[in-house]
Symmetry: C3
Subunit: 362 residues, 3 copies
Amino acid sequence: MAYLCTMKISAGQLAALVSGTLEGDPEILLERPSKIEEAVPGSVCFLANPKYEHYLYDSKASLVIVQDDFVPRSTDHPALLRVPNVYQTVSQLLGMFEEGPGNEPEIHASAVIHRGAKLGKGLSIGACTVVEEGAEIGENCRIGPQVYLGKNVKLGHSVTIHPGVRIYRDCVIGDRVILHANCVIGSDGFGFAPLEDGSFKKIAQIGNVVIESDVEIGANTCIDRGTMGSTLIGQGSKLDNLIQIAHNVQVGSHTAIAAQVGIAGSARIGSRCMIGGQVGIAGHLTIADRSVIQAQSGIASTIEEEGKKWYGSPAMDYFTFLRVYNEFKKLPQIAKKLREMEADWQEYSKNHKEDESNHHQK
Amino acid sequence: MAYLCTMKISAGQLAALVSGTLEGDPEILLERPSKIEEAVPGSVCFLANPKYEHYLYDSKASLVIVQDDFVPRSTDHPALLRVPNVYQTVSQLLGMFEEGPGNEPEIHASAVIHRGAKLGKGLSIGACTVVEEGAEIGENCRIGPQVYLGKNVKLGHSVTIHPGVRIYRDCVIGDRVILHANCVIGSDGFGFAPLEDGSFKKIAQIGNVVIESDVEIGANTCIDRGTMGSTLIGQGSKLDNLIQIAHNVQVGSHTAIAAQVGIAGSARIGSRCMIGGQVGIAGHLTIADRSVIQAQSGIASTIEEEGKKWYGSPAMDYFTFLRVYNEFKKLPQIAKKLREMEADWQEYSKNHKEDESNHHQK
Amino acid sequence: MAYLCTMKISAGQLAALVSGTLEGDPEILLERPSKIEEAVPGSVCFLANPKYEHYLYDSKASLVIVQDDFVPRSTDHPALLRVPNVYQTVSQLLGMFEEGPGNEPEIHASAVIHRGAKLGKGLSIGACTVVEEGAEIGENCRIGPQVYLGKNVKLGHSVTIHPGVRIYRDCVIGDRVILHANCVIGSDGFGFAPLEDGSFKKIAQIGNVVIESDVEIGANTCIDRGTMGSTLIGQGSKLDNLIQIAHNVQVGSHTAIAAQVGIAGSARIGSRCMIGGQVGIAGHLTIADRSVIQAQSGIASTIEEEGKKWYGSPAMDYFTFLRVYNEFKKLPQIAKKLREMEADWQEYSKNHKEDESNHHQK
């Protein structure tokens, strides 16, 4: 059993909802979306990549969604639903089968909510969640169990907070933001003044974190508060799991950041960037809009040109890196060739000098 | 005080339990396992690596476990226990001294358990733990405080869950699995459809995570649910701390993954692989069984051959990498040599042409 | 609104407190520290880096702190406060504006505290926090909500623990330590004995973690307990977020470790080291005092010389790495030059041999 879902829909209803063309019985009942290689009767699947076409001809799926110009190699296949954009339709379909919270808005009796907090309408707040003084929660937020909202934290409306999220005091979260389990928003920035005796003095971190609307933050990701002013995650940006965002970083809008990326203090990341997993970005630099950074790369200096692709640690232009890496792999042969040429040359020079001296002696 | 332990055992009892040969007084009382360099009277230590043999001769340990063919350089040493496999014996010994939970099975009064959850016998459930509707917990599970088990989560028997673990709805956990503090199982996969205006639309993640029996998952590790179908961790695999496993990844059985590794979506990792710390593995590729991947490597393409060792980012054959890196370190000398040869060559060509033209003019 | 703060101070009072020289009205009221580019009336800012001097001349700040020998290019600027060390004064200033916990010492009614735990005076313990048997908490500790302190955990005095921290049994925390949200102290080390059938047997982890005084540990950082003996974080060391410290690691005093670093089992890190983000350090090696390791580097062998700087994966001397990387970027040109020289050489050798044979035939 992969997941439970009580939703059912007929092939005809689905075709109407997604404006597709059905080749098959409109009464077929669809119970679950499945991957085509794992389909069982009742499954609705999709086929977009021709590489997987062979799965079609012995699939047990009840319906397969395909591109509208798809030409099957054989007639022995499940019912088809032709659509103009398979991925978009699948995204729609998954949304239909997603189960909502399934609970009435409810504030659990074990939640500990300060009487000085302001709560909007239609909220649900889970068991053992703690809301401190001065916090303000907008309408229709769904706050899971075991969450911590510090003093004066402000949430917009329709925010979803999964269990175990911690938001330190004074942080501000926009509308429709989704925060996954155990992420930490507003922890102290890593700021210490070195003293003469070699020890460190903590610098108070009195800023906050501002997360704009429609942002999603992954599980166990950390976003530190500004030392002064705010650490900012711009509108619609998506952060995966286990990411480190240091104090006073600014991330633009609609930027996607994959898991385990680390961004050091006061870096400014543009909008619509794509940052691959495990990338590291140094502090106090700027990344231009629409930059694409390959996984595991290290960005050590400002990127001014927009829309370019980067790779390596320290990173360089993506295509340059591919050429460099291609020679890098051959370094032992390059070094060998060089040694051979050097030996040839020395041999030659020696002989030639003898030759020349013979020649001159004639 | 390093740790507290009330267990005591005599050297004679220990020798009998591990089938070893004792050279010393069987009445010696052993109170704690220690590292040989930190031993105090009452300590039982081990010596396997000859590099540390010098510690033996002034150790205050009451007993030292050694390989059965060990020949001491001096007779001035603590009692010895000779065994055929030191590491195996130490593992046994540590198990003897490990303290159990020490509590009677108990469901704490502050735990919030939905009346629609099914609980096996002999359970303990800690304070402030939340169990949602439809969850099923097998016999003899030990669930710590402040844990979250979402709707329809299924646990086998004898599962150990440390404080602060979050398991999202519909995930399935096998028998004897150990989950360390604050790990997150079943968070949403990082799936977004880019829209024409450059913003992202969330793709519903309706799959789950399946963790097979005898798996151990480290602290703060994240395993995302499948978009459709399951993210799978195979039987007996061991995952360290702070690891990212993306949606629809499949990990085989008895694979060991060190801390801070990231595996991108839909990658398939074989069985009995060893993956070093901070390795990154790209999405949609396959890693053959028994692959060994060196720490910090990046795997960007499928590995088909079984049992090979890999290194570098992007990774190459381990021994090739060592040769490549050996030349890489010498790149400044290689470049210098090349420049010198070029200069010599130009000098020579110039002279030689003059020489030749002189020659022809004769 | 970046943050809330009810503190106000006059420019004259501030000048007296930090022993600075005021150029302006001592009655000016200061309400918040701000970055100079974000200042509003009531802001006190600082200017240390000449690069940002242009912000001074149209800043709305009420007061700007500058170095005592600063010479403005224009007279049109806010009031100035001259001090001998700007950064030190700012650190002092931020401390003044930092808000304290604001609560009376209080043990929340929903905290679950074993009657066998010992509590010092002046404690605050937050809602839903769990304290197990045998735990000892020193005076004036501030323990947030939803924290877990396992059996026999010992805290010194004035320790600050943020929400969601988990400390496993037997760990020892020194005075004035700060632990950020969701960090995990004392989880099991990653220790397994491979069995003949290819499966793993868990090795009991019976050690603990010892954190000395004045240490700060970041959000979601994990420190595993020793297998035997202790994992140790030395006095005054500072660890950022999402760091992995494996079993039996020893970190010296006053060492700073940036986010996402991973240190493998039994490594010994010196004192006053600086370790950049995402660095990986292999197990069972030693890092000398005052080593500086550049971000994303990989340390694969012992560093014996103190106070050196390292870079690369595997790392080399910092300046060597810069030279190597400089040639690495040019590898395609190096390879091309080598191919050209080889072609020239072959061409030459061929001609020359013909030439010589012609010559001899004369």
